[in-house]
Amino acid sequence: MSGLRLEGLVAGHPARNGKGFRLPALDQSVPPGAIVALIGPNGAGKTTLLKTLAGLLPPLAGSITAPRAAYLPPPGAVEAGFSALHVTALGRSHLRRWSSGLAPADLDAARSALERLGVGDLADRPFDRLSSGQQQLVLIARLFVQDAGLCLLDEPLAMLDPAHAQAVEAAIRALAGEGRIVIASTHHLPFAARADRVLTLGTDRVDMASPALAVAPDRIRALFGVQADGCPCCGRPLS
């Protein structure tokens, strides 16, 4: 797997009717296997940045050199009535451009991915009957099957109970452990504290730093405008 290089990347929406926004330019390199936490206030442009890195939105300027990317929307955004196994197996779609169906090998890969994440028994249940946490694990299993070098996750821990949040975090580590770059936006500061890097999106600045610096209380106060001795969303201590 190769690394991620951003050269003068300006993500944002083009101005239409005088409304649009631009993020500050990004010049960064991320090695393979790194987990980057993306933090910032609501509306700062985290989702826009993730989608631009995923290739779903065109950048306003600059360039991205990245391996194949996969984007995971926040929990609850994906609705599907077919089985979890089928959802996972669809991760191989990019390989089956011209064939008439998924191969049995795809189903096997899906099944083993699900089992690896501990949700193998959910394989034949309809996806929309699973809980948010279970759905999220299935979608991360799909990321394994998809085998993309760059995984962009939009608030993967939102609305998850602690057990599932832990499982998802472990899965994210496993993703990165296989050499993928994982960039996950989050409000869950302890997760950011445990990441390899933290990318902070302020109102008019963006910088990449080590977690210790990025989640220091004074930085948090400057970023969010609140005093935070513990994690603002769950109250746990920050380090």
Binding site: L72, L90, S100
Partner: protein, 329 residues
């Protein structure tokens, strides 16, 4: 063992379909004994039986083609629009085909020309809807498609109203009215085969798209993230469904509710995956068409238009299914 269980519904449907086919071929006003019909099948039966088969065969073909095409297109639309109320007429194809046929009948054309005109009319309406929707670049464009389809259908209906007023009341108007109400007995074997070609093409496209339709149903963003070109695929699927619908309406007139009912029934049996839903819908649609064909000619010499029967039976059946499934979940 698991595989056999999975194949059971399909086997059951196939057996029902076979029974339906036999029922259509074996009964009719030209009473013929079963062995006479069987002999006629192999080319050496009494002239009565030969005639009966020569007439019932095309009718069977028309019914099966119409039922399967509308059901398959309906399933495709329901997957693409992520809406269980999507019907094959969503893009205005049925209305456009009706207008095409009515215009041809107004100008005094023969049945082959009427069929071609209906086919072209349906594709034109569908193309108009797709084209207008493409002009709006809003996300995955579902709402734009539905609105443009409604507009295309409304325009075609208005045109149809105009034709109805202008038509000669003693000869043209009844013909147009009956054409619009639907019939399986109109078409000859050649016309049935002509319609079968686009239906098979459309069905083949939808079946090949298979899992890609599942991906599309997750949304454009997800589709692109999974490495599929969302817009071209969706356009292809819509065009295939429009092709099937147009061919079916051109062959038999407007037969509603099959495209709405069959996918719902199929969903209960085989689940949501496009790869299974579309073939199962087509089978159920064909079966439904056989049933209403039997009813259409089973009560006296006057033929009850199949469009009326499909609505009279399809609408309550749909309601029943809907209530039953919503009670369950």
């Amino acid at each position: 063992m698991n595989r056999l269980k999975a194949a059971l519904p399909t086997l059951g449907l196939a057996m029902l379909a076979f029974a339906g086919v036999v029922a259509v071929l074996a009964t009719g006003p030209l009473a013929s004994s079963p062995d006479a019909l069987l002999a006629a099948l192999f080319g050496h039966g009494p002239p009565d039986a030969e005639l009966a088969l020569a007439l019932r065969g095309p009718r069977l073909l028309a019914a099966l083609t119409c039922g399967a095409a509308l059901a398959g297109a309906g399933a495709g639309f329901q997957i693409l629009f992520r809406n269980p109320l999507a019907a094959p007429d969503l893009l205005g194809v049925s209305s456009g085909a009706g207008l095409g046929a009515a215009l041809a009948l107004l100008l005094g054309a023969g049945t082959a020309l009427v069929q071609s005109s209906a086919f072209v009319g349906g594709l034109a309406a569908g193309g108009l809807a797709l084209g207008c929707a493409a002009l709006t670049r809003s996300g995955d464009g579902r709402l734009a498609l539905i609105l443009c389809g409604v507009v295309a259908g409304a325009l075609a209906s208005a045109g149809l109203g105009l034709v109805v007023i202008v038509a000669e009341p003693y000869s043209q108007l009844p013909t147009i009215t009956y054409w619009l109400l639907g019939s399986f007995t109109r078409a000859t074997l050649a016309e049935g085969l002509f319609a079968l070609a686009p239906v098979c093409l459309g069905a083949a496209i939808l079946l090949w798209l298979g899992f890609r339709l599942d991906v599309l149903s997750l949304g454009d963003e997800q589709a692109r993230s999974l490495g599929l070109p969302a817009r071209p695929l969706r356009l292809t699927a819509l065009a295939a469904a429009a092709l099937m619908t147009s061919a079916a309406v051109a062959l038999t007139g407007i037969v509603g509710w099959i495209g709405l009912l069959a996918p719902h029934a199929a969903r209960l049996i085989v689940g949501e995956r496009a790869g299974r839903l579309i073939p199962a819908s087509m089978a159920i649609g064909a079966l439904f068409a056989l049933v209403i064909d039997r009813l259409s000619t089973g009560f006296g010499p006057a033929e009850i238009p199949v469009g009326l029967l499909s609505a009279a039976i399809g609408a309550p059946a749909f309601l029943f299914l809907f209530i039953a499934t919503s009670r369950r979940s």
